[in-house]
Amino acid sequence: MAAAIKQPGWYRGAIGALLGAAFGFFLVIGLRALMGLDIYQTEQTGYPHIVVPLITAPFGFLFGFGAFDYWFRWAAGKPTIPDDHSAHGATKWQDYFKFNTDHKVIGTQYVVTTLMFFLIGGLLALMMRAELASPGSQIVAANTFNGLFSTHAVIMIFLFIIPVFAGLANYVLPLMIGAPDMAFPRLNALSFWLLPIAGIIFIASFLAPGGSFDAGWTGYAPLSTGAPFGQSFFNVGVQFAGASSIATALNFLVTIITMRAPGMNLWRMPLLVWANLSTSLLVVGATPFVAGAQFMVLFDRVLGMNFFQFLEGGDVISYQHIFWFYSHPAVYIMMLPGFGIVSEIISTHARKPVFGYRLMALALIGIVVLSYTVWAHHMFVAGMFSWLRVPIMITTLLIAVPTGIKIFSWLGTLFYGKIHVYSTAMLFALAFIVTFTVGGISGVMLGMIPLDIHVSDTYFIVAHIHFVLFGGSVFTIFAGIYHWFPKMTGRMYDEKLGRIHFWGTVIGTWGTFVPMHWIGMDGMPRRVADYASQYGDWNLFISVFAFILGAVQLVFFYNMIVSWRFGPKAGDNPWRANTIEWQVSSPPPVFNFDEIPRVVGGPYEFGTPGARHAIMGGETAAEIPEPKPTTVTAP
């Protein structure tokens, strides 16, 4: 037992958490006593003696869990333990519950954890749909309902979509660029462990007096600054989730810039790598703004500051500017990695190079740049500077251009290909093109101010959100999970179940979210627990399909779990793909390669006889025929 406590791990983590909480608690009380205040602040929203431990306890846990051991030894000037790499790789399931620094283990940890959060977020959505199935108040009170959609959205966005992409990329990206691991493996592990912490904080808000945070995922001030205690859990949780994604983005950027295999110049990087490069640029630049916005709300709530207190000289609308300066780029943080996944899958399963590869990469960069200039399209009716509206409208509409380039290039990739549709991954990628186009076009309609004035804050927005987030992001996530499942587990999933999941999800998505456009345009506002009875029929329809959509997800979970244990062996390269991650064993060896591969050509040279993307260690150059890139232009 004593040894168990000294060792980094769960025991020491639990003790650390307790000590951290106690430290935070006494820090607050001590400081308040020092300043001659009441030791407990009892204003309804404040509770610093709980908010501060909410921040310090996770750090205590991480100390105990071993996240900082190495850095501490380093900081203290002690010789660092020569890494015996015991914290690397996983041989048994327990290894997944440790502070593990192997990018593949971390990737798996990410994907599994975030899928759990998808379940939780989905269950919250189903509770919402149950309430909304008919007009009037049935199962939850109005403020509980507000808590439901707020937590639903926050969990889906901060703990599912954003991190699951980080997880998938964590797994495949170092392999793809021929790196043995990420640039900062310990930071990588830390990023992962910040996530469950954020999740626990969000979910724990349900226990707070006054219920969970209920000001929407946007948390507009001054509703949020005056909200009951649960709101602080959102303010704090976002800091952990945000820190996690910033750290991961730094890691990706450094890895991509400094650790590519010899020969892999920028124009030989797979588009997934390009996509994560772009996403990371967005994360590093924009995420601090959401951290800032939530700090300000927290300061207003706990320290009594006046950022958004209009009676004290604060400015209400500034919250929205700061928030959306993050949260618009955030929607591309939630989409660009998916674009990368789709490019990989479509090229592989159509057996053709990605059409217009360079323009595809440049379009990503274009989206990144434009993303920073459109935040205020969420504020067309918010009473912000009226002169800002038209310029923002123009930049918003311009985003359709690079996005269109991507859609058309994927279609171009399919033309003259040999399209294999046996894989569920490909099915999801193809369905993504169609559904995302619908969501994107409704986005363009929202970008047009006169239309937005009418439909803003109605179910039309809810429809747009879910078409781009479910039909866009989630479809690509499913595609990615199916595509790399054989690589990650070494086993094949069941295509039949995959197909059931696919068709159920497509039908469920369209059935659930298409009618939302209609009732929204017709006048049903969003974020309401109750609505006019004329919308009853459509809402029932929507709820039925939402439950179908939920139910088919069970097929997915069943398929994943059972195939992971019992699926047939997949082989190293079941899709006959070219990128490097498919040239190693499934699952890949602990350090990915014995010898760093050499990159000799583009990543998608299908159809060119003898063309190679990379030469793996162990092969000698003599064996490799000189590739003759034949370029055929489309008729």
């Binding site: 910033i246 590093v284 950022f307």
Partner: protein, 210 residues
Amino acid sequence: MESASVALGHGHDAEDHHHGPPEANQSARIDRTVLGILLFILSEIMLFGAFFAAYFFLRVVVSPEAWPPVGIELPVLVAGINTVVLVSSSFTVHYALEAIKRGNHRGLKLGLGITWLLGATFLFIQINEYVHIGFTPRDGAFGTIFFSLTGLHGAHVFIGLLLLTFANIRAWRGHFGPEQKDHLGVEVPGIYWHFVDIMWIVVFLAIYII
């Protein structure tokens, strides 16, 4: 802020590599840790950017009658002296780095030590100023902006000092050497310290001068 120390110090100590990973290809000339800290600073600048955005709204958009409000005198002189203190520490940390590049361990220790003392002095004066300033974060928009911007910066000074503490400890234990990979532990906190410095000049101008 969340993890300033995090980008530091790994990947570069001589781990022995049997059964280890193959050495990654170095595809860019810049050192990984240095690139990491630069990107981290980029995101820090954006965090400050969020607070400067708030500053802009509270001061320019709301446009209160007087800024700072009547009755508030800022100790510009003290803050000016403090600025000199902090700026000079940028030179000393640079001196330390130059020293170790030439293998001069004494210069390194001297430079790092003085930098640490200057930083601590800055923080001390700042806290002292808080105590005697005569208004609180609750006092209107000005109080809010004053305390949040200088406080955010103060937190960064604190983190920087922490990093410098580590560098000092290791310097006194005789670590570091002229090769770049052997003095990253000085270079990286140094870069961060320069950033803290430059940020202070911006904060100082915004709060005390204009």
